[in-house]
């Protein structure tokens, strides 16, 4: 029987395998997307926000 937290640890493992920069991108993107799930119709603004935030990570 699968343990409830299995998928959580599996996902965390994939995350941990990424380079630091990639980890930063993943957390930033998922955080923004989670916060904007109720703004699904505002796709363009979400893409712009993601672009700006990713740019900020690298600059």
């Amino acid at each position: 029987v699968e343990q409830p937290d299995d998928e959580r640890s599996e996902v965390a493992k994939v995350y941990a395998e990424q380079r630091l920069e990639v980890q930063k991108v993943i957390l930033t993107v998922l955080g923004i997307e989670r916060g904007r799930l109720h703004l699904r119709r505002m796709e363009k603004q979400t893409v712009e926000l993601l672009t700006d935030e990713i740019r900020r990570i690298f600059e």
Binding site: E7, V14, R19, I26, L37, T51
Partner: protein, 687 residues
């Protein structure tokens, strides 16, 4: 989510204000609300009142869905006047009381009701004061996601659609919602757009080489995305064709002219599948033995030759050697022989002793040789046994191939006979079945090729990315852009992998729960499975001997209900889970089940099994049913778990309808009342 009550006002056949207070899951009474209603009295209307008030949607069997205001009210309304109807759902969620109201206010311009705009209000109570929630859609999505709703509000007679392969996407969506994985899907939709922006900047900023490489990368990305879509389409087509094949076979089984031949075909198909499985098993075993043990056969053949060489060495006195190699090495290192002669490099004495190195080495050779003689004793016998096993597997493969070919020949013969049968309908079905089967043979090939193309392009893409890293030169700005673009590519790949892993993990959790729930409902020894393509299967037997269980309507309903029971359980578990939500969100909760036509045309055994299982499947259960469906075993099984009971009284304008009543707790209640001026329905609480 805890349901409190549902209020209807002039909604469809429910004229005037009507209300259902739901049985509560607080342990003081049963958690089941039972609503008795004749066909056409309003069971489906109540089911749709839930989905309409929550999401503004109704089911396909909710005919003329634009006619929401009670016909008699609308008909009596003068042109130019206004009328309204509404549904109001009272519920609690996470300790907060909510009232959700959806209403239609319409001005009559003609006798027809057209689709009218609705007004929705979601109110909630804070310390006794009522407030209005602005983004009601989002709030409802958080409380009871629309993707999960089809599993909680359903028609029992149509529930078996969950078993059909075409529903697997809906199941996947439900799982993603449950796990809070929608943010992953959104990310995978948006990141390619973000990547395009960075790609555009690289092309503008970069030298010719960097620009060309970025353009090539974009092309490859596009090709891969297109191919992924094509794979999804092919998988959907495969699922639909598999369903169609089952349906066509079912029709042929029922057809008088073809039933006998179809029965033979089912038998031969089973024989073919078994022969195929046996052949695959024997091939796998033979391959494994060849890989792991076949060298023994060659060794056994070499052995007599090697033994002869060894004997020759002994006869010539070359074995055993008299000196150990280590002893010679020590003399050379010490720089003096046992006779006292100094051993200095480049001198004859040294060379003479050093020449013994090779001969001394033979002592170790012999030691190893003796060891091998001990180990090799009986190698010929072992080789013979291996050879025998290999011959046995080959024989099994040949026998299975014969059985396969015979079954295939029989199937071809049956197909020919069915195509030439006198009955035109059978011919049409058979021809279609032939087409479907041919497509089903081709689809795995197409899928394999599509996957191979993705593999090839992915390798090419990796190379392009490496080249792009090199091509950026010493331009700092370009370096930042390439790094960001590279990280976005990797983030997309990781998010896709995380999504797939989480989805499959939770599928396995759901599969475990499904087996458990099914074993408590079904009285047959079949084993359900939610496979890795999210399809619901039912098996007879286990392991390689298992075969698809015969799916009767009853079995399909039990399987579907078991899935819903498992899903409700998983939702509950998800809501109780704690942990870091930065990577995986948290959804889930306690959800009620609202089931229309719960017991359909099932026989008593299945009806009893479902009636016994339903109350424990969810915190609250609302069962909408006719008195015929619920009488007898169902009523006896549900009665101890009833917390509320209603009868819908149908007033019909049909004069020839027969008056009917329902008896509950020793009292008689109106069920069908003929001779009314217009059709309408009213709710009566009877227990």
């Amino acid at each position: 989510m805890k349901l409190t009550s549902l209020a209807l006002d002039n909604f469809r056949q429910f004229v005037g204000p009507q209300r259902i207070e739901f049985a509560q899951a607080d342990g003081s009474s049963g958690n089941v609300t039972l609503v008795h209603a004749a066909n056409g009295a309003g069971k489906t209307t109540i089911l749709n009142a839930f989905t309409w008030v929550l999401y503004g949607t109704t089911s396909l069997d909710f005919e003329q869905s634009e006619r929401l205001i009670t016909d008699s009210v609308w008909d009596a309304l003068p042109i130019g006047q206004e009328a309204s109807c509404h549904v109001e759902l009272h519920f609690e969620h996470d300790g907060t009381k909510f009232v959700l109201r959806r209403e239609v206010l319409a001005r009559k311009d003609s006798h027809e009701q057209s689709r009218l705009p609705t007004k929705v209000t979601l109110s909630y109570s804070v310390d006794g004061a009522w407030k209005t929630q602005d983004a009601h859609d989002d709030a409802i999505e958080q409380i009871i996601p629309s993707r999960l709703a089809p599993f909680f509000f359903f028609n029992g007679e149509r529930i078996e659609r969950i078993v059909h392969r075409e529903a697997y996407e809906q199941i996947q969506d439900a799982i993603k919602t449950l796990l809070g994985l929608e943010q992953y899907e959104q990310a995978l939709r948006h990141l390619p757009e973000v990547r395009k922006t960075f790609g555009g900047e690289i092309r503008k900023r970069g030298n010719n080489k960097a620009s060309a490489l970025e353009a090539r990368r974009e092309r490859l990305d596009g090709q891969i995305a297109k191919e992924r879509k094509e794979i999804t389409r092919l998988e959907q087509e495969q699922a639909a064709h598999q369903d169609e094949r089952e349906a066509l076979s079912g029709l042929l089984r029922e057809s008088a002219g073809a039933a006998q031949l179809q029965k033979r075909r089912d038998e031969q198909q089973l024989a073919l599948e078994r022969a195929d499985a046996a052949r695959k098993e024997a091939r796998a075993k033979r391959a494994e033995m060849l890989v792991l043990k076949s060298h023994t056969i060659w060794l056994a053949r070499l052995w007599p030759l090697a033994a002869k060489v060894s004997e020759g060495l002994h006869e010539r006195g070359e074995l055993p050697a008299k000196l150990k190699g280590q002893f010679v090495e020590e003399l050379l290192q010490r720089g003096s022989c046992i006779c006292g002669t100094p051993l200095l490099k480049d001198e004859e004495a040294y060379q003479h002793v050093a020449a013994w190195r090779q001969k001394a080495g033979l002592a170790e050779v012999e030691s190893a040789w003796q060891y091998m003689i001990g180990r090799a004793a009986g190698i010929e016998r072992v080789a013979e046994e291996i050879g025998q096993s290999l011959r046995e597997y080959t024989k099994q493969i040949a026998e299975a191939s014969d059985a396969y070919n015979q079954a295939e020949a029989q199937l071809n013969q049956i197909r020919k006979e069915l195509e030439e049968i006198g009955d035109v309908d059978v011919q049409v079905l058979e021809r279609r079945l032939g087409d479907v089967n041919r497509r089903l043979e081709q689809l795995p090939v197409d899928l394999h090729q599509a996957n191979e193309r993705i593999k090839t392009w992915s390798i090419e893409l990796t190379d392009v990315r490496k080249d792009l890293q090199k091509a950026k030169g010493d331009d700092a700005r370009l370096e930042v852009l390439v790094r960001a673009a590279d990280a976005i590519d990797d983030a997309q790949r990781a998010i896709r992998e995380m999504l797939e892993l989480a989805k499959q993990r939770v599928r396995r959790r759901l599969d475990s729960k499904l087996r458990l729930v099914h074993s408590t409902i079904s009285f047959k020894p079949f084993i359900p499975e939610l496979d890795d393509r999210f399809e619901l299967n039912l098996w007879d037997g286990e392991g390689s001997q298992r075969r698809p269980a015969p799916k009767s309507t009853g079995e399909n309903q039990v399987l579907s209900l078991s899935f819903i029971g498992a899903l409700v359980e998983l939702c509950k578990e998800q809501a109780e889970r704690a942990g870091d939500a930065s990577l995986l969100g948290r959804m889930g909760g306690m959800y009620p089940i609202i089931m229309d036509a719960a017991f359909g045309n099932l026989d008593d055994t299945y009806r009893r099994a479902i009636a016994l299982a339903l109350p424990s499947m969810a915190s609250q259960v609302v069962v909408l049913t006719t008195k015929a469906q619920v009488s007898g075993v169902v009523e006896a099984s549900l009665r101890p778990r009833l917390g509320a009971e209603y009868v819908i009284a149908l007033r019909t304008s049909k004069d020839d309808a027969e008056a009917e009543s329902v008896t509950s707790r020793g009292k008689s209640w109106e069920y069908v009342v003929p001779g009314a001026d217009s059709d309408s329905a009213t709710l009566q609480r009877v227990g």
